[in-house]
């Protein structure tokens, strides 16, 4: 019993560390060292928090400072809804940080729906989803002039299937960096 309690405490402490490490507004603490279990990514710029957020891959897409992998650029939505899901926000904050530190970069947010419902209403719903992402980025301090919004409605499915699984993959917004 005592052993169990102690393990829970360290899990909570670890989670707190991860949370602190993940949130980023560009003004907060710098990374002091690698998180347990992660490899230290190769640093190609001075170890300041601002320029870590500016790291990009070969195609110009921003890299997650924690993992060294390109930031996920696809965000999913529930049926009939245009509200961002809570677990999208942390990654979007990282995108916001990147855009604020690279004011010469633009991003296009493409909005999509699944095939159900009418085509024109879906064009509008796709736009609403892309606008949700744009509004969040602006709320994090990104200039609106860096953002374009385009809706494809149901016209460009990621999965051309007709199942719930396929539909879930199609209800999305995608960030495309210029």
């Amino acid at each position: 019993m005592q052993h169990h309690w102690f393990r829970n405490l360290s899990v909570v402490a670890f989670a707190a560390l991860v949370l602190v490490g993940c949130s980023s507004t560009g003004k907060k603490e710098a990374q002091t060292g690698p998180l347990p279990g992660n490899e230290q990514p190769e640093v190609t710029a001075p170890a300041q928090s601002d320029s870590e957020i500016s790291r990009v891959d070969g195609e110009g897409n921003p890299i997650n400072p924690q993992t060294g992998m390109p930031l996920s650029r696809v965000f999913y939505f529930d049926y009939d809804k245009a509200m961002l899901q809570p677990d999208s926000l942390a990654i979007l904050e990282l995108h916001a940080g990147f855009l604020k530190n690279n004011s010469d970069r633009r991003v296009v947010i493409d909005g999509f729906t699944d095939e159900r419902g009418t085509r024109e209403y879906n064009l509008a719903l796709g736009e609403r989803r892309a606008e949700s992402v744009a509004t969040f980025l602006v709320s994090q301090g990104v200039r609106r002039s860096q953002i374009d919004v385009v809706s494809y409605g149901e016209e460009r499915p990621a999965d051309a299937g007709h199942s719930e699984a396929a539909w879930a993959k199609n209800r999305r917004a995608e960030l495309v960096y210029r």
Partner: protein, 434 residues
Amino acid sequence: MKNRLLAALAALLVSSPLGAQITIEIDRGYDNPKKIAVVPFGVGPNVAGVENPSGIVSFDLARSGQFAPTPTENMLSLPTRPAEMLFRDWRVLGVEYVVIGRTEMDAAGNLTVSYYLFDVLKEQQLSNEKFSAPPTALRDMAHLVSDAVYEKLTGIQGAFSTRIMYVIAQNLGTPSVKFKLEMADADGARPRTLLESREPILSAAWSPDGKRIAYVSFEHQKPSIVLQEIATGARSVLTDFPGLNSAPAFSPDGKMLALVLSRDGDPEIYTMALATRELRRITRQHAIDTEPSWTPDGKSVVFTSDRGGKPQIYQVELATGLTQRLTFDGDYNARGRMLPDGKHLIFVHRNDGVFHIALMDLERQRLMVLTSTSLDESPSIAPNGTMLIYATQDRGRGILAVVSIDGTVKYRLPSSVGDVREPAWSPFLNRTRG
């Protein structure tokens, strides 16, 4: 009775024209279709290699679901002139009406198609007409015969000389995806490509004179509205504002276009005067307002709005701005289109998560679901108001389907080359007669 209709239709499908990429498969017909015999037309000298109009006429009448054509092999005699008519040969088969005719070539090289329509029980000739045109217009002349016979026997103007427009999508979900906007005769024959693109095409609409179309194209990597002349293919971009440019709909007099723009923050309905390209904003709501269509009197616009939370159909009077909600049943009603009588609405209706086409009597506030297919969308009404064409899915493939306004006649139009969607039935098209 139904078996005979299906057998007759099966025989016709075998003889349907080659080269048509859309084939017609009939599901259901009226319970008591009128039994009509369309006798193979006589062929004059010098008429070589020309299709017999009787096959085209039989297929037209069968497709309406209201007629059961007699198979040729059951006919006891094959008259091509009134003098050759023996009414007892038809009475014994239970046939009610007979169409006979001839195809001839005149000295100028034009084809003439003449027909006679008989009432078997009354032993009476009901009508006869003669059409003349270059041989390339043979199918058109046959459809004129169908229109005339249909109108004589039902009292309703025939829609067999009309066209359909639709989008074919190939290789969906792959990088080699291709979209084609095509136009064909109402029976699927003579398909013709109007636009081909690597980017999506949707919402194609006919002008009331049938000479121009408007549609949404993604050729500039965002939706814009394009106007195109059918005869010449000449195109111009009508609107290309930031945000949506979509859902074009011509007014009944052809002078205005209703459309959707989201340049002011969210999708709103606008009208545009086509002569001046002047825009007038119609809706002002922080909601999605889209899918406008015109009432037959041209005074109001029917549209979809989710201002109440979910998509429902509304109507706005253009002169006053007075807006009323039309649909209350179900949590998703969209893409409303008025019947020519202005008293009924056709729309997409979601019930228990399934999308059907529904008909509503606006005066009696009564709703009737017309289709038993699902994932139905894009209904478009034939100009005589008797049938509508819509897009649906069959075993994972996008197809078109036709259903009569009372829901009794249904047939499907799959394409052999890809997914078909976004059908639009043309208005009545003026063709020269005689």
